[in-house]
Amino acid sequence: MAARDEILAALRRNAPAGPPHPALDGVAAAFPDLLAQFAQAVAAVGGTCLRVPDLAAADAALRALPIHAGARRVVSLVAGVGGATVDAAAVQDPHALADLDLSVLRADLAVAENGACWIEGPSLPHHALAVIPEHVAVVVDAAAVVPDLHAAYAALDLPGRPRWGLFLSGPSKTADIEQSLVIGAHGARSATVLLIG
């Protein structure tokens, strides 16, 4: 506690005058076609966006993809989509998900400007599901697409949210070797967004 009090005292002693917290105005993005913009943004970050009318169509679209054809171990958190072969609820230790081929996740919200999907969860294995499988598919309702991150945070009400949440924008990637973009650094090698409706 000594360190804490010393640090806080020093910060109070040394605090400069500062401006008030500014109103975050004049920054909102606007797009003529929100969903087209979202699909374009997903593609720009290396993902694939498929627009489907309903969950059944999402399931069919996913099954038609090569990432599903080769997938033996599949977790799905969206009933009726992807044909789960592994029951995530039964997994206690996320290490058991190490050889997962595909996870199908649900996003509560998506951002048109940058193609990011908000995925969250209260429990242990779910966080690994976003990053550990070879491929990831995200199901999101068209109505849940907002223009930008300001709208996203306004809708999220983060203080009321559970243990973790992430904006996932495309597949895992790196350019650490001579700035050459390589998809599939540590996380999913592909990210498919199934946009419903």
Partner: protein, 485 residues
């Protein structure tokens, strides 16, 4: 537990002797920026390659910024939010601590690097942890955490690909966002051949990245704890946000039960809604992406797990007192000032001799100790490009100028240069002396042999001609043609 002295930590106790790699950090004491930069530029082709690599990132940044009509407004807001947060930092840290604690995290306070390293090590040793994976954290670099833990029998694996590469080479990152930007793919190929058994001569980035993925996947699965840095901590929520493209912070924290997140005090923003401003700016400024692939919000420990947040001062509260340098605490570590800096691009990150190099590092470095970093504020042409790309509008080049004044006043500038400029100022103080000295110098330039003039002009004349001196100055010409007014 007996902690070794800071000197032992700084020397990288237990680390193997440094091997010199091409373009890498030089062995021996730091010679100051001009000498280190001269060594880097001596290989002109390599300096140009480094320059082009970073300019490519700068161009991507320009394109990404141009896509947002509100770009300049976002920068203004980011500047104001940070100024507001810094002015009220103690209160916001208390609010953050309350909220994070209520969510089940444990908050630790570290006065300095030694506190930080001790806290992290105690958390690990109390749980018998000997295998740790770490995602990018310039703070842990600043504190020298890796050598500290390694000296105590803890394996620390840096999981960011670029950081793993420099870790294999026994080097620190040369750039805060692009740690291995100074290394060629052929050199990485040879390194991975030695360390990971990749095919001899292979240098395809896709192949090498795949090899690193396999290697680091094993490390992730075997780790007993994950250490991450923090991009933003949110007071009203108690959240910490970590941004990566590779997913290494997520892999490193989703698997083991223990997550330790280390952050400088200045990472705090007041409200969750502020994240919208900063996340729109950060990746665009850093790499030209609209957002990082993974922007992960840690809102508490996982069930059955632990989340520890280590808040580190290490000179930050003292810097807060110093106008104008306190503005450097607004930095969000995007690296844009490095990518745009024409000096950094041609001299490399190691030429700065600091954890954080480039323009922002040249402001932060002298604050840590002016003597050792006295050349950094002068390692700039004051071109100002850094200030114009900075997403939080830090007036970097003006800060460098302010540092020059402090260093001169403190006797840290080279005496010869200071004296020469003082004599020049004395000459300039009188129009008569100025005119006479000018006449003398022009005559000397005209009359002396060219080779001698080149030698006398020292650093100017090695690669540059002096101007051809005119017979008459403008003031003489004006007096002749216009008369004395």
């Amino acid at each position: 537990m007996s902690a070794p002295s800071d000197a032992a930590v700084a020397a990288g106790a237990g680390a193997p002797p440094p091997v010199h790699h091409p373009g890498g950090r030089q062995a021996g004491p730091y010679p100051g920026h001009p000498a280190a930069a001269a060594r880097f530029t001596a290989d002109v082709a390599r300096a140009h390659w480094h320059d082009e690599s970073l300019w490519f990132v700068r161009v991507k940044r320009d394109r990404a910024a141009a896509q947002l009509p509100a770009w300049e407004r976002l920068r203004e807001l980011a500047e104001q939010i940070k100024a507001h947060a810094l002015a009220n930092l103690a209160g916001y840290l208390e609010e953050f601590e309350r909220n994070a604690t209520a969510r089940g995290a444990t908050v630790h306070w570290a006065r300095d690097a030694a506190d930080h390293n001790r806290i992290v090590h105690e958390l690990l040793s109390a749980r018998g942890v000997t295998r740790v994976v770490k995602s990018k954290s310039m703070l842990t670099e600043e504190c020298g955490l890796n050598p500290y833990l390694e000296a105590r029998g803890v394996e620390v694996v840096d999981t960011d690909l670029g950081e793993r590469i420099v870790q294999f080479r026994g080097e620190p990152p040369s750039h805060i966002v692009l740690p291995a930007i100074h290394i060629k793919k052929e050199e990485i190929g040879a390194l991975f051949h030695e360390k990971l058994g990749t095919a001899a001569g292979a240098s395809d980035p896709k192949y090498l990245t795949e090899a690193a993925r396999g290697h680091l996947r094993e490390k992730f699965l075997a780790a007993q704890a994950g250490i991450t840095g923090v991009n933003f901590a949110v007071a009203d929520t108690g959240a910490v946000v970590v941004c990566t493209n590779e997913g290494n912070a997520d892999m490193g924290t989703a698997l083991p039960p223990l997550h330790i997140a280390c952050m400088g005090l200045e990472k705090l923003v007041p409200r969750a809604e502020d994240l919208g401003v900063f996340l729109r700016l950060l990746a665009r400024s850093a790499t030209g992406q609209p957002v990082t692939t993974y922007s992960t919000h840690f809102l508490g420990p996982k069930p059955g797990g632990e989340l520890h947040l280590v808040l580190v001062d290490n000179g930050r509260s003292a810097l807060l007192a110093r106008d104008p340098f306190r503005r450097a605490l607004s930095c969000i570590r995007c690296g844009a000032c490095m990518n745009t800096c024409p000096v950094f691009r041609r001299s490399g990150g190691y030429s700065y001799g600091t954890t954080v190099p480039g323009p922002i590092g040249s402001v932060l470095g002298p604050a840590q100790g002016p003597g050792a970093h006295a050349t950094l504020p002068f390692a700039s042409t004051l071109c100002g490009s850094c200030a114009d790309v900075c997403p939080v509008r830090i007036d970097l080049h003006h800060q460098l100028l302010a540092w020059r004044r402090e260093l001169v006043a403190g006797g840290h500038a080279p005496a010869g240069k200071t004296l020469a400029l003082r004599v020049t100022a004395w000459i300039f103080a009188s129009p008569w002396r100025f005119a006479a000295a000018g006449r003398l110098a022009r005559a000397a330039l005209r009359l002396l042999p060219r080779g001698l003039v080149a030698r006398l002009s020292g650093a100017w004349g090695r690669q540059r001609e002096l101007p051809a001196p005119p017979a008459e100055s403008f003031r003489d010409l004006y007096r002749r043609t216009h008369g004395r007014p």
